[in-house]
Amino acid sequence: MNTITGVVCPFCGCLCDDLEVTVEKGKIISAKNGCAYSLTKYLNYQKERLSEPLIRKGEEQVPIGLDEAVEQAAQILVDAAYPVLYGWSSTSCEAQHLGVELAEEVGGAIDNTSTVCHGPTVEAFQEIGHPSCTLGQVKNRADLIVYWGSNPLQSHLRHMARYTMGAEGKWRKSRDDRTLVVVDVRKTYTARVADYFIQVDPNGDFELMSALRMGLRHEEIEQDAVAGVPVEYIEEVAEVLRGCEFGALFYGLGLTMSSGKNRNLDAAISLVTDLNKWTKFVMMPMRGHFNVSGANTVFLWQTGYPFAVDFSHGYPSYNPGVTSVIDILSRDESDAAIVVSSDPAANFPKKAVESLLRNPLIVIDPHRTATAEKADVVIPSAFVGIECEGTAYRMDSVPLKLKKVVEPPSSCLSDEEILRRILEEVRRLKEWN
């Protein structure tokens, strides 16, 4: 029996690195310190698992050798005029490197889950900027925490304990040293523990932020309420924001997915930038997948753009709304797809899914997913952070190395290795032609 310490959890953007995983006879028997999601993953990852490569024959998917699956996958990509390469957020940076290289080689469009997550944040970032920091700054200094359109007690279970309200920092030691503000359309579990809960009308975030900015400047708001919030309360919260020593705004998909999308983020970034006139204030997106931040980071240094990257002209180009995967699919512009560690058939709107499933589809994933069920080629892979090493980036862009704690089944190579083989085969096929 062997206990490995300092294990980095491969679930969400918190990337907690204090897990202790105990392995006996090659199996994980316990995983301590992590949250419910983490524990569930470590103890159940073998469920609904893909065990061998498959290929579609009519209505069925039949087993096939790995080499042949790689060949078929490569052939699909080479034959396609405009393939999409999607997913990436739940795999290692090393696999993401190869994804970009593959997309460049086949002249396709590569996109990651930011496109349905914090893509709008990026778009606002590009227009306004972004005052931010690493999580330790918040832990040590912040006396005011705001969660806006984010419900960490359901989504990032240890965020508050590790980084914000409950963390023991150099200057802030406990819950008593911090004030919590929560903004949401409904009284979530997180809202219940807040000192200030602002219930905002759905799609009303932009107006509310604008009103807060006015409140900060003591400007007169000529309404009784904005976005369903009484003006007196807005002014009170504005004072709280202004009066702190160090504030941190954590924001989630409540802002990116509601009407206004990137404009909500424009308003948020402007609000936090304004606050820096009076106090120290930072902001940070609550990243969902454990390595979506890594996907953005890798795409950026290699292509100049964080998501929705098109290589059809032989160089990287970027135009969300045109080169983003849901738009490409909705307009039926692609003719093949490869999906890596993601499940768009479950997570995309129906119209996009229909397009995805109409064309040849390759899936590389450890799990049997809705997308894998419909794929033409399926290649099972190892779990990053459990069965293979890899680099990942936390929600604040701090890079960490994920550990391997158990061996993968012999039929499951890492995403990195599978992609390398597909890339080699694609190059071989292109030479041939």
Partner: protein, 570 residues
């Protein structure tokens, strides 16, 4: 194409100032990636370099090309990326960019200009894993990175207590842990203050909560650097960067470590000195402090500098100087990215345009050149723009032309703000750099200051990193034909890296992997034991990662090249 391990470069005019070679026509022999006395003529590949000059491959001592700050700069500037695109070829990866190019493109463009070694000068230790990932994807060039240490909590605490040995042990441990090369300070103490929204303008102000001054941090790290025997002096971005009147802080900074210099070696390297060479009290009376700083540098042997020259046009500013970047955001109204790193440092990014007709920008431009022309010994200057802060590195040849040619300067001066032109003394400076002096500031001096003994020269045993430019000094008037010279310097006729031809006429023809250097520094043993104790007790209180997950394994460097460093007298 068969790879020949032996290469003979014939009939070239060599500028190798480190070895006293100043425009001599000779042959250069290369074997197994090194310069050698001679090669076997039956075996060697022959490169006819008639009509070309040869210099050692360019060495850039300070250029922001890789890491979290640079990458956020890339994210901020999709519009900048549209200025230049690079298509994928059989040999090259695609890319984009102008002031913040993507990594593959960065390697190709530097090599295209005849540069072969580049230093990433500012990386937060906590995030240096990222920096190495990007350096790995920067092809051809040899490289290293400098960890930011001037606001580090462990360091400030050790220095406050006067514990130099423990501080040295910690720094040695840290350099090994993050694979860093040199000690870098950016506005020491000020960035910790910025963690609360403050900043320090003078070196005797006290860092809030840490009861230490920038002067004490600078002196302390200078002593540590010396104790460890690190190859390069401490590199410092002085406090109060960018502000009128800041030349005084720069002088104080240089003075404060004068007594610590040993054996005639420099004890301090002032980075992008232009940004810290301002006199005056406000923007409208901003004037030049370059003459005063040049005078000090001329009289003292313990200081080296790099320029930080401004180039007119659009670029992206990015430094660890969080407070300064916020000031620039307010001054310019441009977008602002801030990124503070727990227990270590901070930083900010603001796009910026240097305008000829803007009084302040025009003064900045003249100040950099005034400094370069008034420092008598070129071994004390390195040519940089603090890429991309002053301007993109691909515009270096513009600066080279301004230094080589009075006429080039005059032509540029005609178009700048009139008041600046009148107030600056640049018009009265006749000096023109020789090719030999240019070779010093672009390769020989940076290599020497960095302690890279096999770089920046073409003596036997040096790395065979060579740049050939299509300039014939006997036919070309460097001063009058500056446009031709600039063009030739922009696109190397050949760039040779470790004995292989990697560039022909500015185009990449081979893409080898470059090496990553770092300092494997020996630490004082007893002190190291104490430091381990401190790390075990305090690390997880300060940080949000575990100590065991902080060090970066050598597997993160594609071509690791550690430099074994022994302590003085050890």
């Amino acid at each position: 194409m068969e790879l020949s391990l032996e290469l003979l470069i014939k009939n070239t005019i060599v500028y190798d100032p480190s070895n006293g070679v100043n425009g001599e026509r000779m042959d250069l022999s290369v074997r197994d990636g090194k310069i050698v006395e001679s090669v076997d003529l039956n075996n060697a590949k022959v490169l006819d370099a008639s009509g070309m000059i040869a210099m050692p491959g360019g060495v850039d001592i300070h250029s922001h090309i890789a890491g979290p700050k640079v990458n956020k700069g890339r994210e901020l500037r999709p519009e900048d990326h549209l200025r230049r695109i690079e298509r994928k070829t059989r040999l090259k990866r695609s890319g984009v960019g102008y002031s913040v190019p993507t990594t593959f493109t960065t390697g190709y463009w530097y090599a295209g200009m005849g540069y072969t070694t580049v230093m990433e000068p500012a990386t937060a230790p906590l995030e240096t894993r990222h920096t190495h990932e990007e350096l790995n994807d920067t092809p051809i060039l040899d490289k290293a990175c400098f960890p930011l240490l001037g606001d580090n909590w462990f360091i400030m605490e050790y220095l406050k207590n006067g514990e130099i040995e423990k501080c040295a042990a910690y720094v040695a441990w840290l350099l090994k842990a993050v694979k860093g090369y040199a000690v870098k300070l950016v506005s020491p103490g000020s960035v910790e203050a910025w963690g609360w929204g403050g900043g320090l303008r003078e070196i005797d102000e006290v860092v809030p909560n840490f009861d230490i001054t920038p002067r004490e941090i600078i002196r302390g790290l200078c002593k540590v650097n010396d104790l460890l025997g690190l190859p390069s002096p401490i590199h410092i971005h002085c406090n109060n960067l960018g502000s009128p009147g800041n030349y005084r802080v720069t002088l104080e900074t240089m003075k404060c470590v004068k007594d610590l210099a040993k054996g005639g070696r420099p004890s301090i390297h002032i980075v992008h000195v232009q940004f810290n060479a301002y006199a005056g009290s406000g923007w409208s009376d901003l004037s030049s402090g370059a003459t005063k700083l040049a005078r000090y540098v001329n009289r003292h042997s313990h200081v080296t500098t790099d320029l930080g020259q401004v180039i007119f046009g659009d670029t992206t500013t990015m430094t660890a100087d969080g407070p300064w970047q916020y000031i620039l955001h307010n001054l310019s109204g441009n977008r602002w990215v801030n990124h503070d790193v727990e227990a270590e440092t901070g930083g900010g990014i603001v796009p910026y345009q240097y305008r000829r007709r803007n009084y302040v920008n025009a003064m900045q431009w003249t100040i950099g050149l005034e400094f370069a022309l008034q420092v008598k010994d070129p071994w004390k200057i390195c040519l940089t723009t603090d890429h991309p802060n002053g301007g993109p590195f691909i515009e270096y040849p513009r600066i080279m032309a301004w230094l080589l040619s009075r006429e080039a300067r005059d032509a540029a001066m005609k178009r700048i703000n009139k008041t600046a032109r009148r107030r600056s003394i640049l018009g009265s400076l006749d000096r023109e750099y020789s090719l030999s002096e240019l070779a010093v500031i672009t390769r020989a001096a940076p290599a020497r200051i960095l302690g890279l003994r096999h770089k920046g020269h073409l003596g036997v045993g040096a790395d065979a990193d060579i740049a050939l430019y299509r300039i014939d000094p006997s036919e070309t008037d460097l001063s009058k034909d500056y446009r031709k010279v600039r063009k030739a310097l922009r696109r190397a006729a050949h760039t040779i890296k470790e004995g292989e031809i990697v560039v022909k006429d500015g185009e990449v023809v081979r893409v080898p992997e470059g090496k990553t250097f770092w300092a494997e520094a020996e630490a004082p043993e007893e002190a190291l034991k104490d430091v381990w104790q401190d790390l075990r007790e305090r690390f997880e209180k300060y940080y949000t990662v575990r100590l065991e997950n902080y060090p970066i394994g050598v597997e993160y460097l594609r071509r690791p090249a550690p430099m074994e460093i022994k302590m003085e007298g050890g």
